[in-house]
């Protein structure tokens, strides 16, 4: 497994180079003008301002030159400076990634825990009311548009009932915890500030739950179908014939086998959750990488767009690698080669 892991890790730079190259040329292939973002509509007709901005941001160089400069800077860990925020892209991503990771990780935990429990209950109550309710809920979770659910939840629980906190990572006038990990829940605990932790956690719950819905629905259906499939296997019949209680068979043996495909699903979903955070982050004023990606795309902020693609690529590649390793660890039949 070590050789497999090292070989996969060695391939990552090559794959990232491919991602960066595609992102670089694709973003520049559109017939739009980033100078609108840089100098604004009013100054587009001002040749001095346009010339100064073109020089300053390297847009006077040929595409090949720009690409070479980008790559050489990238090797040194410099992802360029954002046209829009005027900050180094690495700093921008570093400031926003923890917010998105905190949201995505919480959504993942919710989806896996509730999804597994839901799937097991549905399988054990097959054909009964609970199974029907869970199957409909799973279908709704997978089908309802996230932005619509987000807006409805905000309107009902925040604006109307007033029981949910405001959009954002903390309540108004609340002072954020000292920055250690960038995860407000973790940092507030590290600071020993329980009220701050509860505030951060309360703000996290609703967006994370809504973000988890699509994955939650899939996990429920996957676990349910796997459980039902496994229940017909020979080893289950044998265990039951030897007098093992049905619940014990399901929990000790069937569940363990049924949950293996969920691991694959998690691996694929990590990247999707993070890069798909756009809508949730926009609706819940969550200043993460999703909103950064949207604003960067809208303004043709080339360095930022390429930087976001690079981060997305790293997360996908690492997610897939970890999934393969986890899969092999859980299921001894899988050999990594």
């Amino acid at each position: 497994m070590l050789r497999f892991t090292l070989r996969r890790l060695a391939l990552i730079p090559l794959l990232l180079w491919g991602i960066v190259t595609i992102a670089f040329f694709l973003s520049r292939s559109v017939s739009s003008n980033p100078l609108v973002t840089i100098v604004g509509e009013r100054n587009l007709g001002n040749p001095d301002v346009v010339a100064a901005a073109t020089r300053r941001w390297g847009l006077d160089k040929s595409l090949a030159e720009q690409y070479w400069v980008y790559l050489t800077n990238l090797v040194r860990g410099d992802l360029g400076t954002s046209f829009r925020t005027k900050s180094p892209v690495l700093d921008d991503l570093g400031a926003r990634l923890p917010a998105t990771l905190e949201l995505a990780f919480t959504a993942l935990v919710i989806a896996v825990v509730l999804g597994t429990v839901g799937g097991v209950i549905a399988a054990r109550t097959q054909g009964r009311v609970a199974d029907g309710v869970l199957r409909v809920a799973a279908l709704a979770g997978s089908s309802l548009p996230v932005f619509w659910v987000g807006l409805v939840f905000l309107f009902v629980f925040y604006a109307t009932l007033g029981i949910a906190p405001s959009p954002g990572r903390l309540s108004a006038r609340v002072i954020p915890p000292p920055d250690v990990t960038g995860f407000y829940t973790v940092d507030s605990l590290l600071a020993g500030d329980w009220p701050l932790f509860t505030d951060a956690f309360a703000h996290l719950l609703m967006p994370a739950f809504i973000m988890s819905l699509a994955l939650l629905g899939t996990v429920i259906r996957l676990v349910r179908s796997q459980m039902l499939e496994e229940q017909g296997a020979d080893y289950v019949r044998t265990a039951r014939a030897k007098g093992m209680a049905r619940g014990q068979v399901l929990n000790r043996h069937v569940l363990k086998n049924a949950i293996t495909p969920v691991v694959t699903l998690i691996g694929v979903s990590v990247g999707l959750l993070i890069m798909g955070a756009v809508l949730i982050e926009t609706i819940f004023s969550w200043n993460g990488i999703g909103t950064y990606a949207v604003e960067s795309s809208r303004g043709l902020d080339f360095p930022a767009i390429t930087g976001v693609c690079l981060v997305g690529g790293v997360l996908f590649l690492l997610g897939n690698l970890l999934t393969d390793i986890a899969y092999a660890t859980i299921d001894p039949r899988v050999r990594l080669s």
Binding site: E41, N43, N46, A159, S171, P195, L196
Partner: protein, 537 residues
């Protein structure tokens, strides 16, 4: 009695149950917590869709920048709500007879936030930096040939040609004075090569160097700008201990957060929500006129715009727009019609003709111009939502009314960067966009919309320069008082006759805040003047 050690599955189940209980308890605690440590209510939270393009005052140009710049930096003079100029950093000022030289005397009491005195050299350095950076506000210094500190407190500005607008321009928030010593230590320069050698923009994202009531505490792009009161402020004490400008992009989200008390003031409330706010006793609201406007621009000189070369066709389009219906559709009726590129209320706008919907007149003019069966034009415009107006709604409404007079508009909405790629190259026969003032002088509208040398829209419309308009602008800049106002009006009439810029609506503006906040305002140079805001007891 002996106790058996629990089996592994039992321990796992117990651990899972314990985890669930902890999670549930935490969730409940999160919902019922008495709350974390907060800043007190002496600070104000303002919700708005931020459009910050820089916190470096000499490079910035945006509505949010106006609020930030005027809170943190100070100009030599400031424009009052009545359009008069009053002292700020300068205790006195004067212009020579032909408005080519301006002298400012800096108030000896003025100090920066670090306690050092505001000197004439800081003023000269700041303005030269605006000019030499060739950044977004550099056109404020257009035609200025010299800025010199002739003493510790005296600054002399020289213009190549008469420029009576300069005093108004000096009141723009982008002309605020920076502590030159501090900024220079951090990479800023005002030298002639500043456009390539100045490296301070990132420093300004985390620091400020002004003499205003507030200093920059922190900035998180896409989230908030936090200002704290300047303890060394040399004038009247600030009304708030802190000012937070919070990113709330959506108008309905601004309303929700205002109603829940999470923000104290909302800057972009939709007119659809006006009834809701007015019926809420915890909120206060007012609808006031603004100087912003949205306009249709016709470009006779670009491919596809040949029919527009006949001014009668351009006039017919102006007459074929049902303004009231468009204003109803876009702003629920909360806007005014406007004559030309000079907003209602600006010097020179009074007495200019206001366009009317006249379909019969439009059809007659089109027939006279050789288009009895009407004509078809492509209208490419950026998709935006500005000052409460959605460009798609606006253009669809215009399309419907022009169809009644035989003008078919083929609408093509594009994103802003695509629009920007084409507008100054191939151009568009018909487009739609918006404008907000940067300073209180009317000359900005001639420099942008009229047919004079260097005007942006003369270039985009591919129209020849009008010598008459050129001469009148030059004459106005050498005049003052009523004489100048009359020249501005004459220029406004010529712009109306050109029929290149057709204003569609001058939107009203909603001032919405919590009921315990007084002094909410719309300010021409500051966008929101924080000095007029305060909490009631």
């Amino acid at each position: 009695m002996s106790s058996a050690r629990p089996s592994a599955p039992h321990r796992r189940r117990t651990a899972v149950r314990a985890g669930v209980v902890v999670l549930a308890a935490t969730s409940l605690a999160a919902c019922s917590s008495t709350g974390p440590a907060t800043t007190d209510r002496t600070g104000i939270i303002i919700g708005r869709a931020m459009d910050v393009n820089s916190l470096d005052i000499s490079r910035s140009l945006c509505d949010t920048c106006q609020i930030y710049n005027s809170a943190v930096y100070e100009t030599v003079v400031r424009a009052t709500p009545d359009g008069e100029l009053e002292p700020l950093l300068a205790e006195s000022w004067e212009a020579n007879e032909d408005s080519t030289q301006f002298t400012f005397e800096i108030d000896p009491d003025a100090v920066f936030a670090d306690g050092s005195a505001v000197e004439a050299k800081d003023v000269a350095w700041s303005w030269l930096r605006v000019q030499n950076l060739q950044g977004l506000p550099s056109y404020f210094m257009q035609g200025i040939t010299g800025v010199e500190a002739t003493g510790d407190r005296t600054v002399v500005v020289t213009s190549a040609a008469p420029n009576s607008a300069f005093l108004n321009i000096a009141s723009a928030s982008y002309m605020g004075v920076v502590n030159s010593d501090v900024a220079a230590e951090n990479g800023a320069t005002a030298d002639a090569d500043a456009a390539s050698s100045d490296t301070a923009e990132q420093w300004f994202l985390e620091n400020s160097a002004g003499s205003g009531q507030y200093v920059l505490d922190s900035y998180s792009e896409g989230s908030e700008i936090v200002l704290s009161a300047n303890d060394s402020y040399w004038g009247e004490e600030p009304n708030f201990s802190s000012v937070t400008i919070k990113e709330v992009t959506d108008a309905s989200a601004q309303l929700q957060q205002l109603q829940q008390g999470d923000i104290d003031l909302a800057m972009q409330i939709s007119f659809d929500s006006l009834d809701q706010i007015e019926s809420d006793s915890s909120l206060t609201t007012d609808v006031v006129p603004s100087y912003n406007f949205l306009y249709l621009a016709l470009s006779p000189g670009v491919a596809g715009g040949e029919a527009l070369q006949d001014v009668r066709v351009r006039d017919a389009i102006r007459m074929g727009i049902d303004y009231d219906t468009v204003i109803d559709a876009t702003l629920a009726g909360n806007g005014e019609r406007q004559s030309t590129g000079i907003p209602n209320g600006f010097e020179g706008s009074e007495g200019l003709p206001i366009p009317d919907f006249d379909p019969d007149g439009a059809r007659a003019l089109l027939a006279e111009a050789g288009y009895p069966d009407g004509l078809t034009l492509d209208a490419t415009y950026p998709t935006f939502s500005a000052y409460g107006v959605n460009s798609n709604t606006e253009m669809q409404s215009i399309q419907q009314s022009l169809a009644q007079v035989g003008v078919t508009l083929n609408l093509a909405p594009v994103d802003f960067s695509t629009w920007g790629e084409q507008i100054d190259s191939t151009g568009y026969p018909v487009t739609a966009i918006y404008f907000a003032p940067d300073h209180p002088d009317t000359v900005q509208y001639f420099q942008y919309f009229s047919l004079i040398d260097g005007s942006v829209w003369a270039g985009r419309a591919r129209m020849p320069v009008s010598p008459e308009e050129n001469d009148l602008v030059a004459a106005a800049l050498a005049q003052s008082g009523d004489e100048r106002t009359a020249t501005y009006t004459e220029l406004g009439q010529l712009m109306y006759d050109d029929a290149i810029i057709l204003p569609i609506v001058n939107p009203s503006y909603i001032l919405a805040s919590s009921a315990d906040l007084q002094g909410n305002n719309y300010d021409i140079t500051r966008n929101l003047d924080l000095t007029r805001l305060s909490f009631t007891d």
